[in-house]
Symmetry: C2
Subunit: 298 residues, 2 copies
């Protein structure tokens, strides 16, 4: 059994970006600039955004954190996005989800300039991903693909079972793994809340991607020997022995599943750091594209 | 065994559209207008476009067929599309595929106004489909969903195996069947040329969608009793006894498979007519949307 160490793989990606950013700076060019919008005071969202801002610092990106009150109007939020869209200094825009219930997430995401949508949630970027065109792939699935690539996990011809059909993880993961690419070329079964025989399907899987958001849902009796297990879940479970009052649990019962696996991601330290590294890669890509277009226009 | 009669279901859709178009006309409103671009002289393309134009006549739409020589430049083709984009009288634009090799299909499709892309091939429409937002669903998968709906085929919780991952059929079909909708809510396995154990996977399927384009590929020993079989294939096979010199074969060996099925589509007369009915529905939707926006603007 080998651990797919997301911390290490993410560090390798960030180290490589850091060098490229330093090159840009030494050429007098603008470095990538990520603008993050955080609405309200959700604890998990605070943590995620802070980690993204910290990663920007690490690799040498500029970052701007825009905070809005929980009761901000949709109109005001859309205005902020339009300002960022038209700001030539901003390369990437992300709106930390979830948003308060009075605001339509679709409307907000659809307002982001697709060329700055480094989360890859805009319909035209999702469509480009499906069609295999150049795009920003959503950070979590992109991070998983980078992790598989980093550890040279063979995927071609394998049967992957993806549990969960969310727009930000399960669905794009099923699309990427079944694409004609490397990693990719898996036969993919996409499972969800209406799948009656999940255990049996998982037992057939060479690769399991657990992205349903239920702590320790995937147990040893659902996993065949030698499987690759990717754990996307991250649930806060109460734990009085911790200072924070909680501990983080994945969707996989790691202790009992890991011994059966050829490869497995830990939680934390697996998919999480890769998500942030993928976001950094997308932001760099947006900036590089801008410099390329500027050079073409000269 | 019940035949999923695409001719009948398509006729019901066209009859319903015909009434709605007559209502528009009686209110003095513009009726839907489909513009089709046909490049070169591919025999199958000629047939398909002719069938689409004929369907427009049947339901009372306006249609314009624009023919271009095989050697048209990409620039000239893009110009034609831009003219149609800005023509307020045109509700739907379709470019019959395949295009000659010197022209990028992606570039051409991406140039179509997404609001007139009634084939549903533009990235932003593909993305909206994935995200469950209002869109034009590609005609063939949309037609299949309408056929399942017409015959009230139960799909929720069923295991669907889709063979073929093309952008115009297999991929969108896998997305639609696994969506939280009705028809939908299937567990979906997407198979393709790198799937090693296709026979075994098909044998587990409650629903098989064959969209790989190989005549009579799906045989009786791949299908379990009671399965629903949707045959998207349409291959011209030489046949000296026919005046045309060929006959049409589906991807399913119909004669041996049909007796095992609960439902099956014939070829021809199954998915083909539904594709055209779905295109008509998309074109009507585009026109209705235009009238709605005009009324809102008054």
């Amino acid at each position: 059994m080998q651990i797919l160490n997301g911390k290490e793989a993410a560090q390798a990606i960030k180290d490589s970006l850091k060098i490229k950013v330093a090159q840009l700076a030494s050429q007098g060019k603008e470095v990538p600039h990520l603008a993050a919008i955080l609405v309200g005071n959700n604890g998990a969202s605070e943590t995620y955004v802070a980690a993204k801002v910290k990663a920007c610092e690490e690799v040498g990106f500029k970052s701007t954190l825009i905070r809005a009150e929980e009761n901000i109007t949709a109109q005001k939020l859309l205005e902020t996005i339009r300002e960022l869209n038209s700001d030539p200094d901003v390369d990437g825009i992300l709106v930390q989800l979830p948003l308060p219930k009075h605001i339509s997430e679709d409307e907000v995401i659809n307002a982001i300039d697709p060329g700055k949508d480094v989360d890859g949630f805009h319909p035209s970027n999702v469509g480009r991903m499906v069609l295999g065109q150049s795009t920003f792939v959503p950070a979590t699935p992109y991070g998983i693909m980078l992790l598989l690539e980093h550890y040279k996990v063979e995927t071609k011809g394998k049967h992957a079972v993806v549990i969960g059909r969310s727009n930000i993880v399960g669905r794009p993961m099923s699309i990427l793994l079944s694409g004609n690419s490397n990693p990719g070329n898996c036969t993919v079964t996409l499972c969800h809340s209406h799948t009656p025989n999940l255990k049996e399907l998982c037992l057939e899987a060479d690769i399991i991607v657990a992205a349903l958001g239920r702590a320790e849902f995937v147990t040893a009796h659902m996993v065949k020997d030698g499987a690759v297990v990717i754990d996307v879940g991250i649930t806060r479970v109460e734990d009085a022995t911790k200072k924070s009052g909680f501990k983080l649990k994945g969707d996989v019962a790691y202790d009992e599943v890991a011994p059966k696996c050829s490869f497995i991601t830990p939680v934390p330290g697996g998919v999480g750091p890769m998500t942030i590294a993928a976001l950094m890669k997308n932001t760099f890509k947006s900036c590089a594209q801008k410099h390329y277009e500027e050079a073409e226009g000269e």
